[in-house]
Symmetry: C2
Subunit: 266 residues, 2 copies
């Protein structure tokens, strides 16, 4: 919104001055002083309208009504930046994690080491916000090479509410399985990054093997959950920022959709 | 938020005046004039904080992270009223329906009369906003008798974006099935209400028989979808304001979650 202001201010001021030129000799001078207020009001209305439309876009994106969406609407780039870099996003993650914790505590575990909670990694356990901050918060075209370079640095911080939930789940006796669309070749840096961010004691870290490349995430993850079920695991909970982490087959008893207004994965 | 203002204003003004009494003899009088601005700023901050928390509650409710939620948080009663009675709700319904239309147009129908789109009724085809306007927009305890009296009036208006989608689907050649938690005893008033609101030409209207009473909506609706599949219908799309309209078994190829911040049905 903010980046549009200079341009819109210029347009509106142009109109205002055009009007002034037209009949300024008829008007007492102080009346001209009203234009900046009018311009300001019009800008506020425009901001309000864009906010409303982007709120609606985000609701529909999060409700999986836009599946698949490839790009943030141009008019919502600034909105997504403000949301993702601000407190609203953090609060959304926090609320989702708290609800997951309430649910986890309500479950009576069998306690045979087969009660499982699945976590996705990117934008679930680890935050790539430092990367997206430098790449338009998802409004730039995705560059897989640059993103891989970022992954290689292994410096993504934890999403703190997820870290809290993760530790709580281990304390409650859940086995934690990490199921990610990252590739097997990134196992080492991913493990290092997770440990540095405070994660430990997972049961299994499942990444895409060469055979899994090219599969839609929703199929790849469903397959892996199905394999776990065949091994006797009971998938109680599942936390992920993408619907493709949560939907499909062999779904968990309850799932928790973390927010992500920056990108969508099928 | 607005209803808290008089109370908070009183509290903050009390504090302000307490402060003034304490050292008013030390301060030049004009300084006191700054307090109302400060009070206004504090109220704005409080409004902003409540808005942020209620936005987060709504995101999590719509993402099905709070399943089941029984009551709107007390602090969000005013927020839900503003949202549900305002343009934001209408825009959310409109966006969801437009996306459904885009999807529907992308599907190549077999054309044997078995391509189905399912619609829920309440808060999907028909709006009970006139009822909820009189009942705290969902923050009052639900009164089934009063709600049944409202249903008997058969005056619920159409959600206009749903009506538009509905007509478009018929034009495209879909068979439309209405699947509702309303009871069989309400068939006549429901039919009358739908016709008066502009709906026509549905393939089937499925309501709860006495045998279905007491079943969770998600099971009742899954059962009915499964029966339809066994009859050879292909369930292409499904529009509903509750996750229990959309999840379960025999799910549609694509589903569209309409917003509802007023109540939740399991």
């Amino acid at each position: 919104m903010a980046f549009l202001r200079p341009f819109l201010l210029f347009c509106l001021i142009s109109v205002s001055f055009a009007h002034e030129a037209f009949d300024s000799h008829l008007l007492p001078r102080p009346l001209i002083l009203e234009f900046p207020q009018k311009v300001e009001n019009q800008l506020e209305e425009l901001d309000g309208e864009i906010k409303l439309r982007c709120d609606s876009w985000r609701f529909n994106a999060e409700a999986n009504n836009l599946s698949p969406w490839r790009r943030i609407p141009l008019e919502c780039a600034e909105y997504v930046k403000e949301y993702s870099s601000g407190r609203a996003y953090q609060l959304d993650v926090e609320t989702a994690s708290k609800e997951a914790e309430i649910f986890a505590k309500s479950v009576k575990l069998v306690g045979d080491g087969k009660d499982v909670w699945i976590f996705d990694i990117d934008e679930t356990l680890l935050s790539n916000l430092p990367y997206y901050t430098e790449h338009g918060y998802g409004s730039d075209v995705f560059n897989p090479l640059e993103f891989d370079n970022w992954v290689q640095k292994a410096t993504a911080p934890a999403l703190l509410p997820s870290l809290k939930l993760y530790k709580e789940l281990l304390d409650l006796g859940f086995k934690v399985v990490l199921l990610t669309g990252r590739s097997e070749s990134q196992r080492e840096v991913t493990t290092q990054n997770l440990i540095d961010a405070g994660y430990y004691g997972w049961e299994r870290l499942i990444l895409r093997t060469p055979d899994d490349q090219g599969k839609l995430a929703v199929f790849f993850k469903s397959e892996k959950r199905s394999e776990m079920e065949n091994e006797g695991y009971r998938i109680i909970g599942n936390s992920g920022d993408q619907w493709s982490d949560l939907l499909g087959t062999s779904v968990s008893l309850r799932s928790f959709k973390l927010p992500n207004a920056m990108y969508y994965i099928s």
